[in-house]
Point group: C2
Chain length 311, copies 2
């Protein structure tokens, strides 16, 4: 089973509130798709072929993977009593930021991946220079969207800057590229920021757009950090062999078990947040259960069974 | 004479308000240097050697070129009756954005420049991946700084996003990389955005930080666009030979004369802005006169006489 179908497929497990969660996911994905398509059409029309390359990078038309990060933004807004539509542009900014990071990760000078989601990576379509500039363009569009949010625009952008920057995703990826030995201490924390800060920002921005109080927002941000790490551990489980070859320590001896343990801990904390209603918590917990693979999936070959849909 | 010394040197021409302008430049550069050094020290300490690479990219310790874009931000704030210190972080954000664009421009997949300001380009120190991530980190730090500005944080970030994005600097650079024939119409306008939008943003953000009214801010933004283009024309004058080899049209038959004509037009408009006092206008005009080379400089060899200090 691919991870995409774990998110958007029809068969939630018994821990999820079933049909309601599915309805939330379906509605959220439809709203995200419409807004992302609109943005891709409106950008870069002066550059021949760019709207199509953008649409492929962002994965419009159902090619965009699970989109779980922007779904977290929408879910956080709902959980804090807000309207999902108020958080749509923040959610789109989260997805554009994620897309930009994938475009850069795939570059020949980074992971050198010719494919992304089974399609040619962006640099295979427009070259490295084009891919880098497209990535910068996506980041800039995310900032434009966030900056225009009423009341919280500046705060959201400042948070975004710290999420993306050298003490966040860019620094974590630099650590990933540069590290030749197991990472320890602050270096390990920075590397982890690559995976944890964007989900944390996704939830925090949804909470802000719904006018959540600071304690609730911080609680959701922390939930996002746990969730990002739990997700990464499952991803690492696919990469254990590769990590060993590179001389890096795997995330743990039993990363899948550790991932589920992290999720349980994060869920317990979330249930203790006084500012969140029961329905909101269950929405977030149900979504989180789908994001972190609910059952251990035995890795076949180089982990393709789990990894093929992880986005 | 290098362009750096044209900005920071001791001998302003008769069109400048002399000592006052020099005092403004000296004070502004000192404040910018101090803040930039502080930022470089505080960023990326987990990544071995990064603070030093950052400092070299940003050009602290007097290696940073003329810094005329952030000086425009400070000058706009003063011209609008504000305090220069209120606009310092916006000015620094402008300089970090400019630095990020230079780091990307120099990459092997873009202009493939081994040197910047006579020193090894960033990718020669940390590789392409490191340079790209450092560039993203600088952009993110700029957004963080802008987003934290009181009252105008969101608006500044949204403007920054449009300045940097696919309809701004990133799109213009993409056009630069992709174009194989003379550009016309909207493609030519987009290419020009690479040079004009950051000076326009520099002035606009300074005006905002000083609480300028919308008409005055828009007037200064327009002045920045003219100025950016006038500067670019002089740069183009150095590149005419290279442009001809690439089959691109030079900016005009007499770009230096065209540049001075643009500056005169922009100055006349600026003097008509009712929201700006005489001293403020003269500060901006004096600074502009130093930015756009005041007298035609005959290009020697491949334009090195003019170009060596153009940053």
């Amino acid at each position: 089973m691919s991870f995409s179908s774990a998110i958007s497929g029809p068969a939630p497990g018994p821990r999820h509130p079933g049909a309601e969660l599915q309805a939330f996911v379906d509605g959220g994905l439809a709203a995200l798709e419409a807004r992302l398509e609109e943005l891709c059409r409106g950008l870069g029309q002066e550059l021949p072929g760019l709207p199509e390359v953008l649409a492929r990078a962002v994965g419009t038309g159902g090619r965009g993977g699970a989109r779980w990060r922007p779904l977290l933004t929408l879910a956080a807004a709902e959980a804090c009593g807000g309207d999902r539509s108020d958080a749509l542009d923040a959610a789109v900014a989260v997805e554009l930021t994620h897309t930009a990071s994938l475009v850069l990760d795939d570059l020949p000078c980074m992971d050198d991946s010719p494919l992304r989601r089974g399609q040619p990576a962006t640099h295979r379509l427009v070259g490295s220079a084009g891919a880098i500039l497209l990535s910068v363009g996506l980041l800039a569009r995310a900032v434009d969207l966030l900056g225009r949010q009423p009341r919280w625009g500046g705060v959201l952008c400042a948070e975004w800057g710290r999420t993306v920057g050298l003490q966040g995703m860019a620094g974590g990826q630099a650590m990933d590229v540069a590290a030749t030995a197991p990472l320890r201490g602050s270096a390990r924390r920075l590397h982890r920021a690559k995976s944890t800060l964007l989900p944390a920002f996704a939830l925090s921005s949804g909470a802000r757009m719904a006018g959540a109080d600071e304690t609730t927002r911080a609680g959701l941000e922390s939930f996002g950090r746990f969730l990002g790490w739990a997700y990464q551990l499952v991803d690492d489980a696919c990469d254990v062999g590769e990590d060993r070859e590179n001389g890096r320590a795997p995330a743990g001896l039993r990363p899948l078990a550790q991932s589920r343990r992290l999720l349980r801990l994060a869920t317990r904390r979330l249930r203790g947040e006084p500012g969140l209603g029961g329905d909101g918590v269950e929405l977030l917990v149900g979504l989180a259960g789908r994001i972190v693979v609910p059952e251990p999936v035995p890795a076949r070959g180089p982990g393709e069974a789990v990894r093929q849909g992880r986005v």
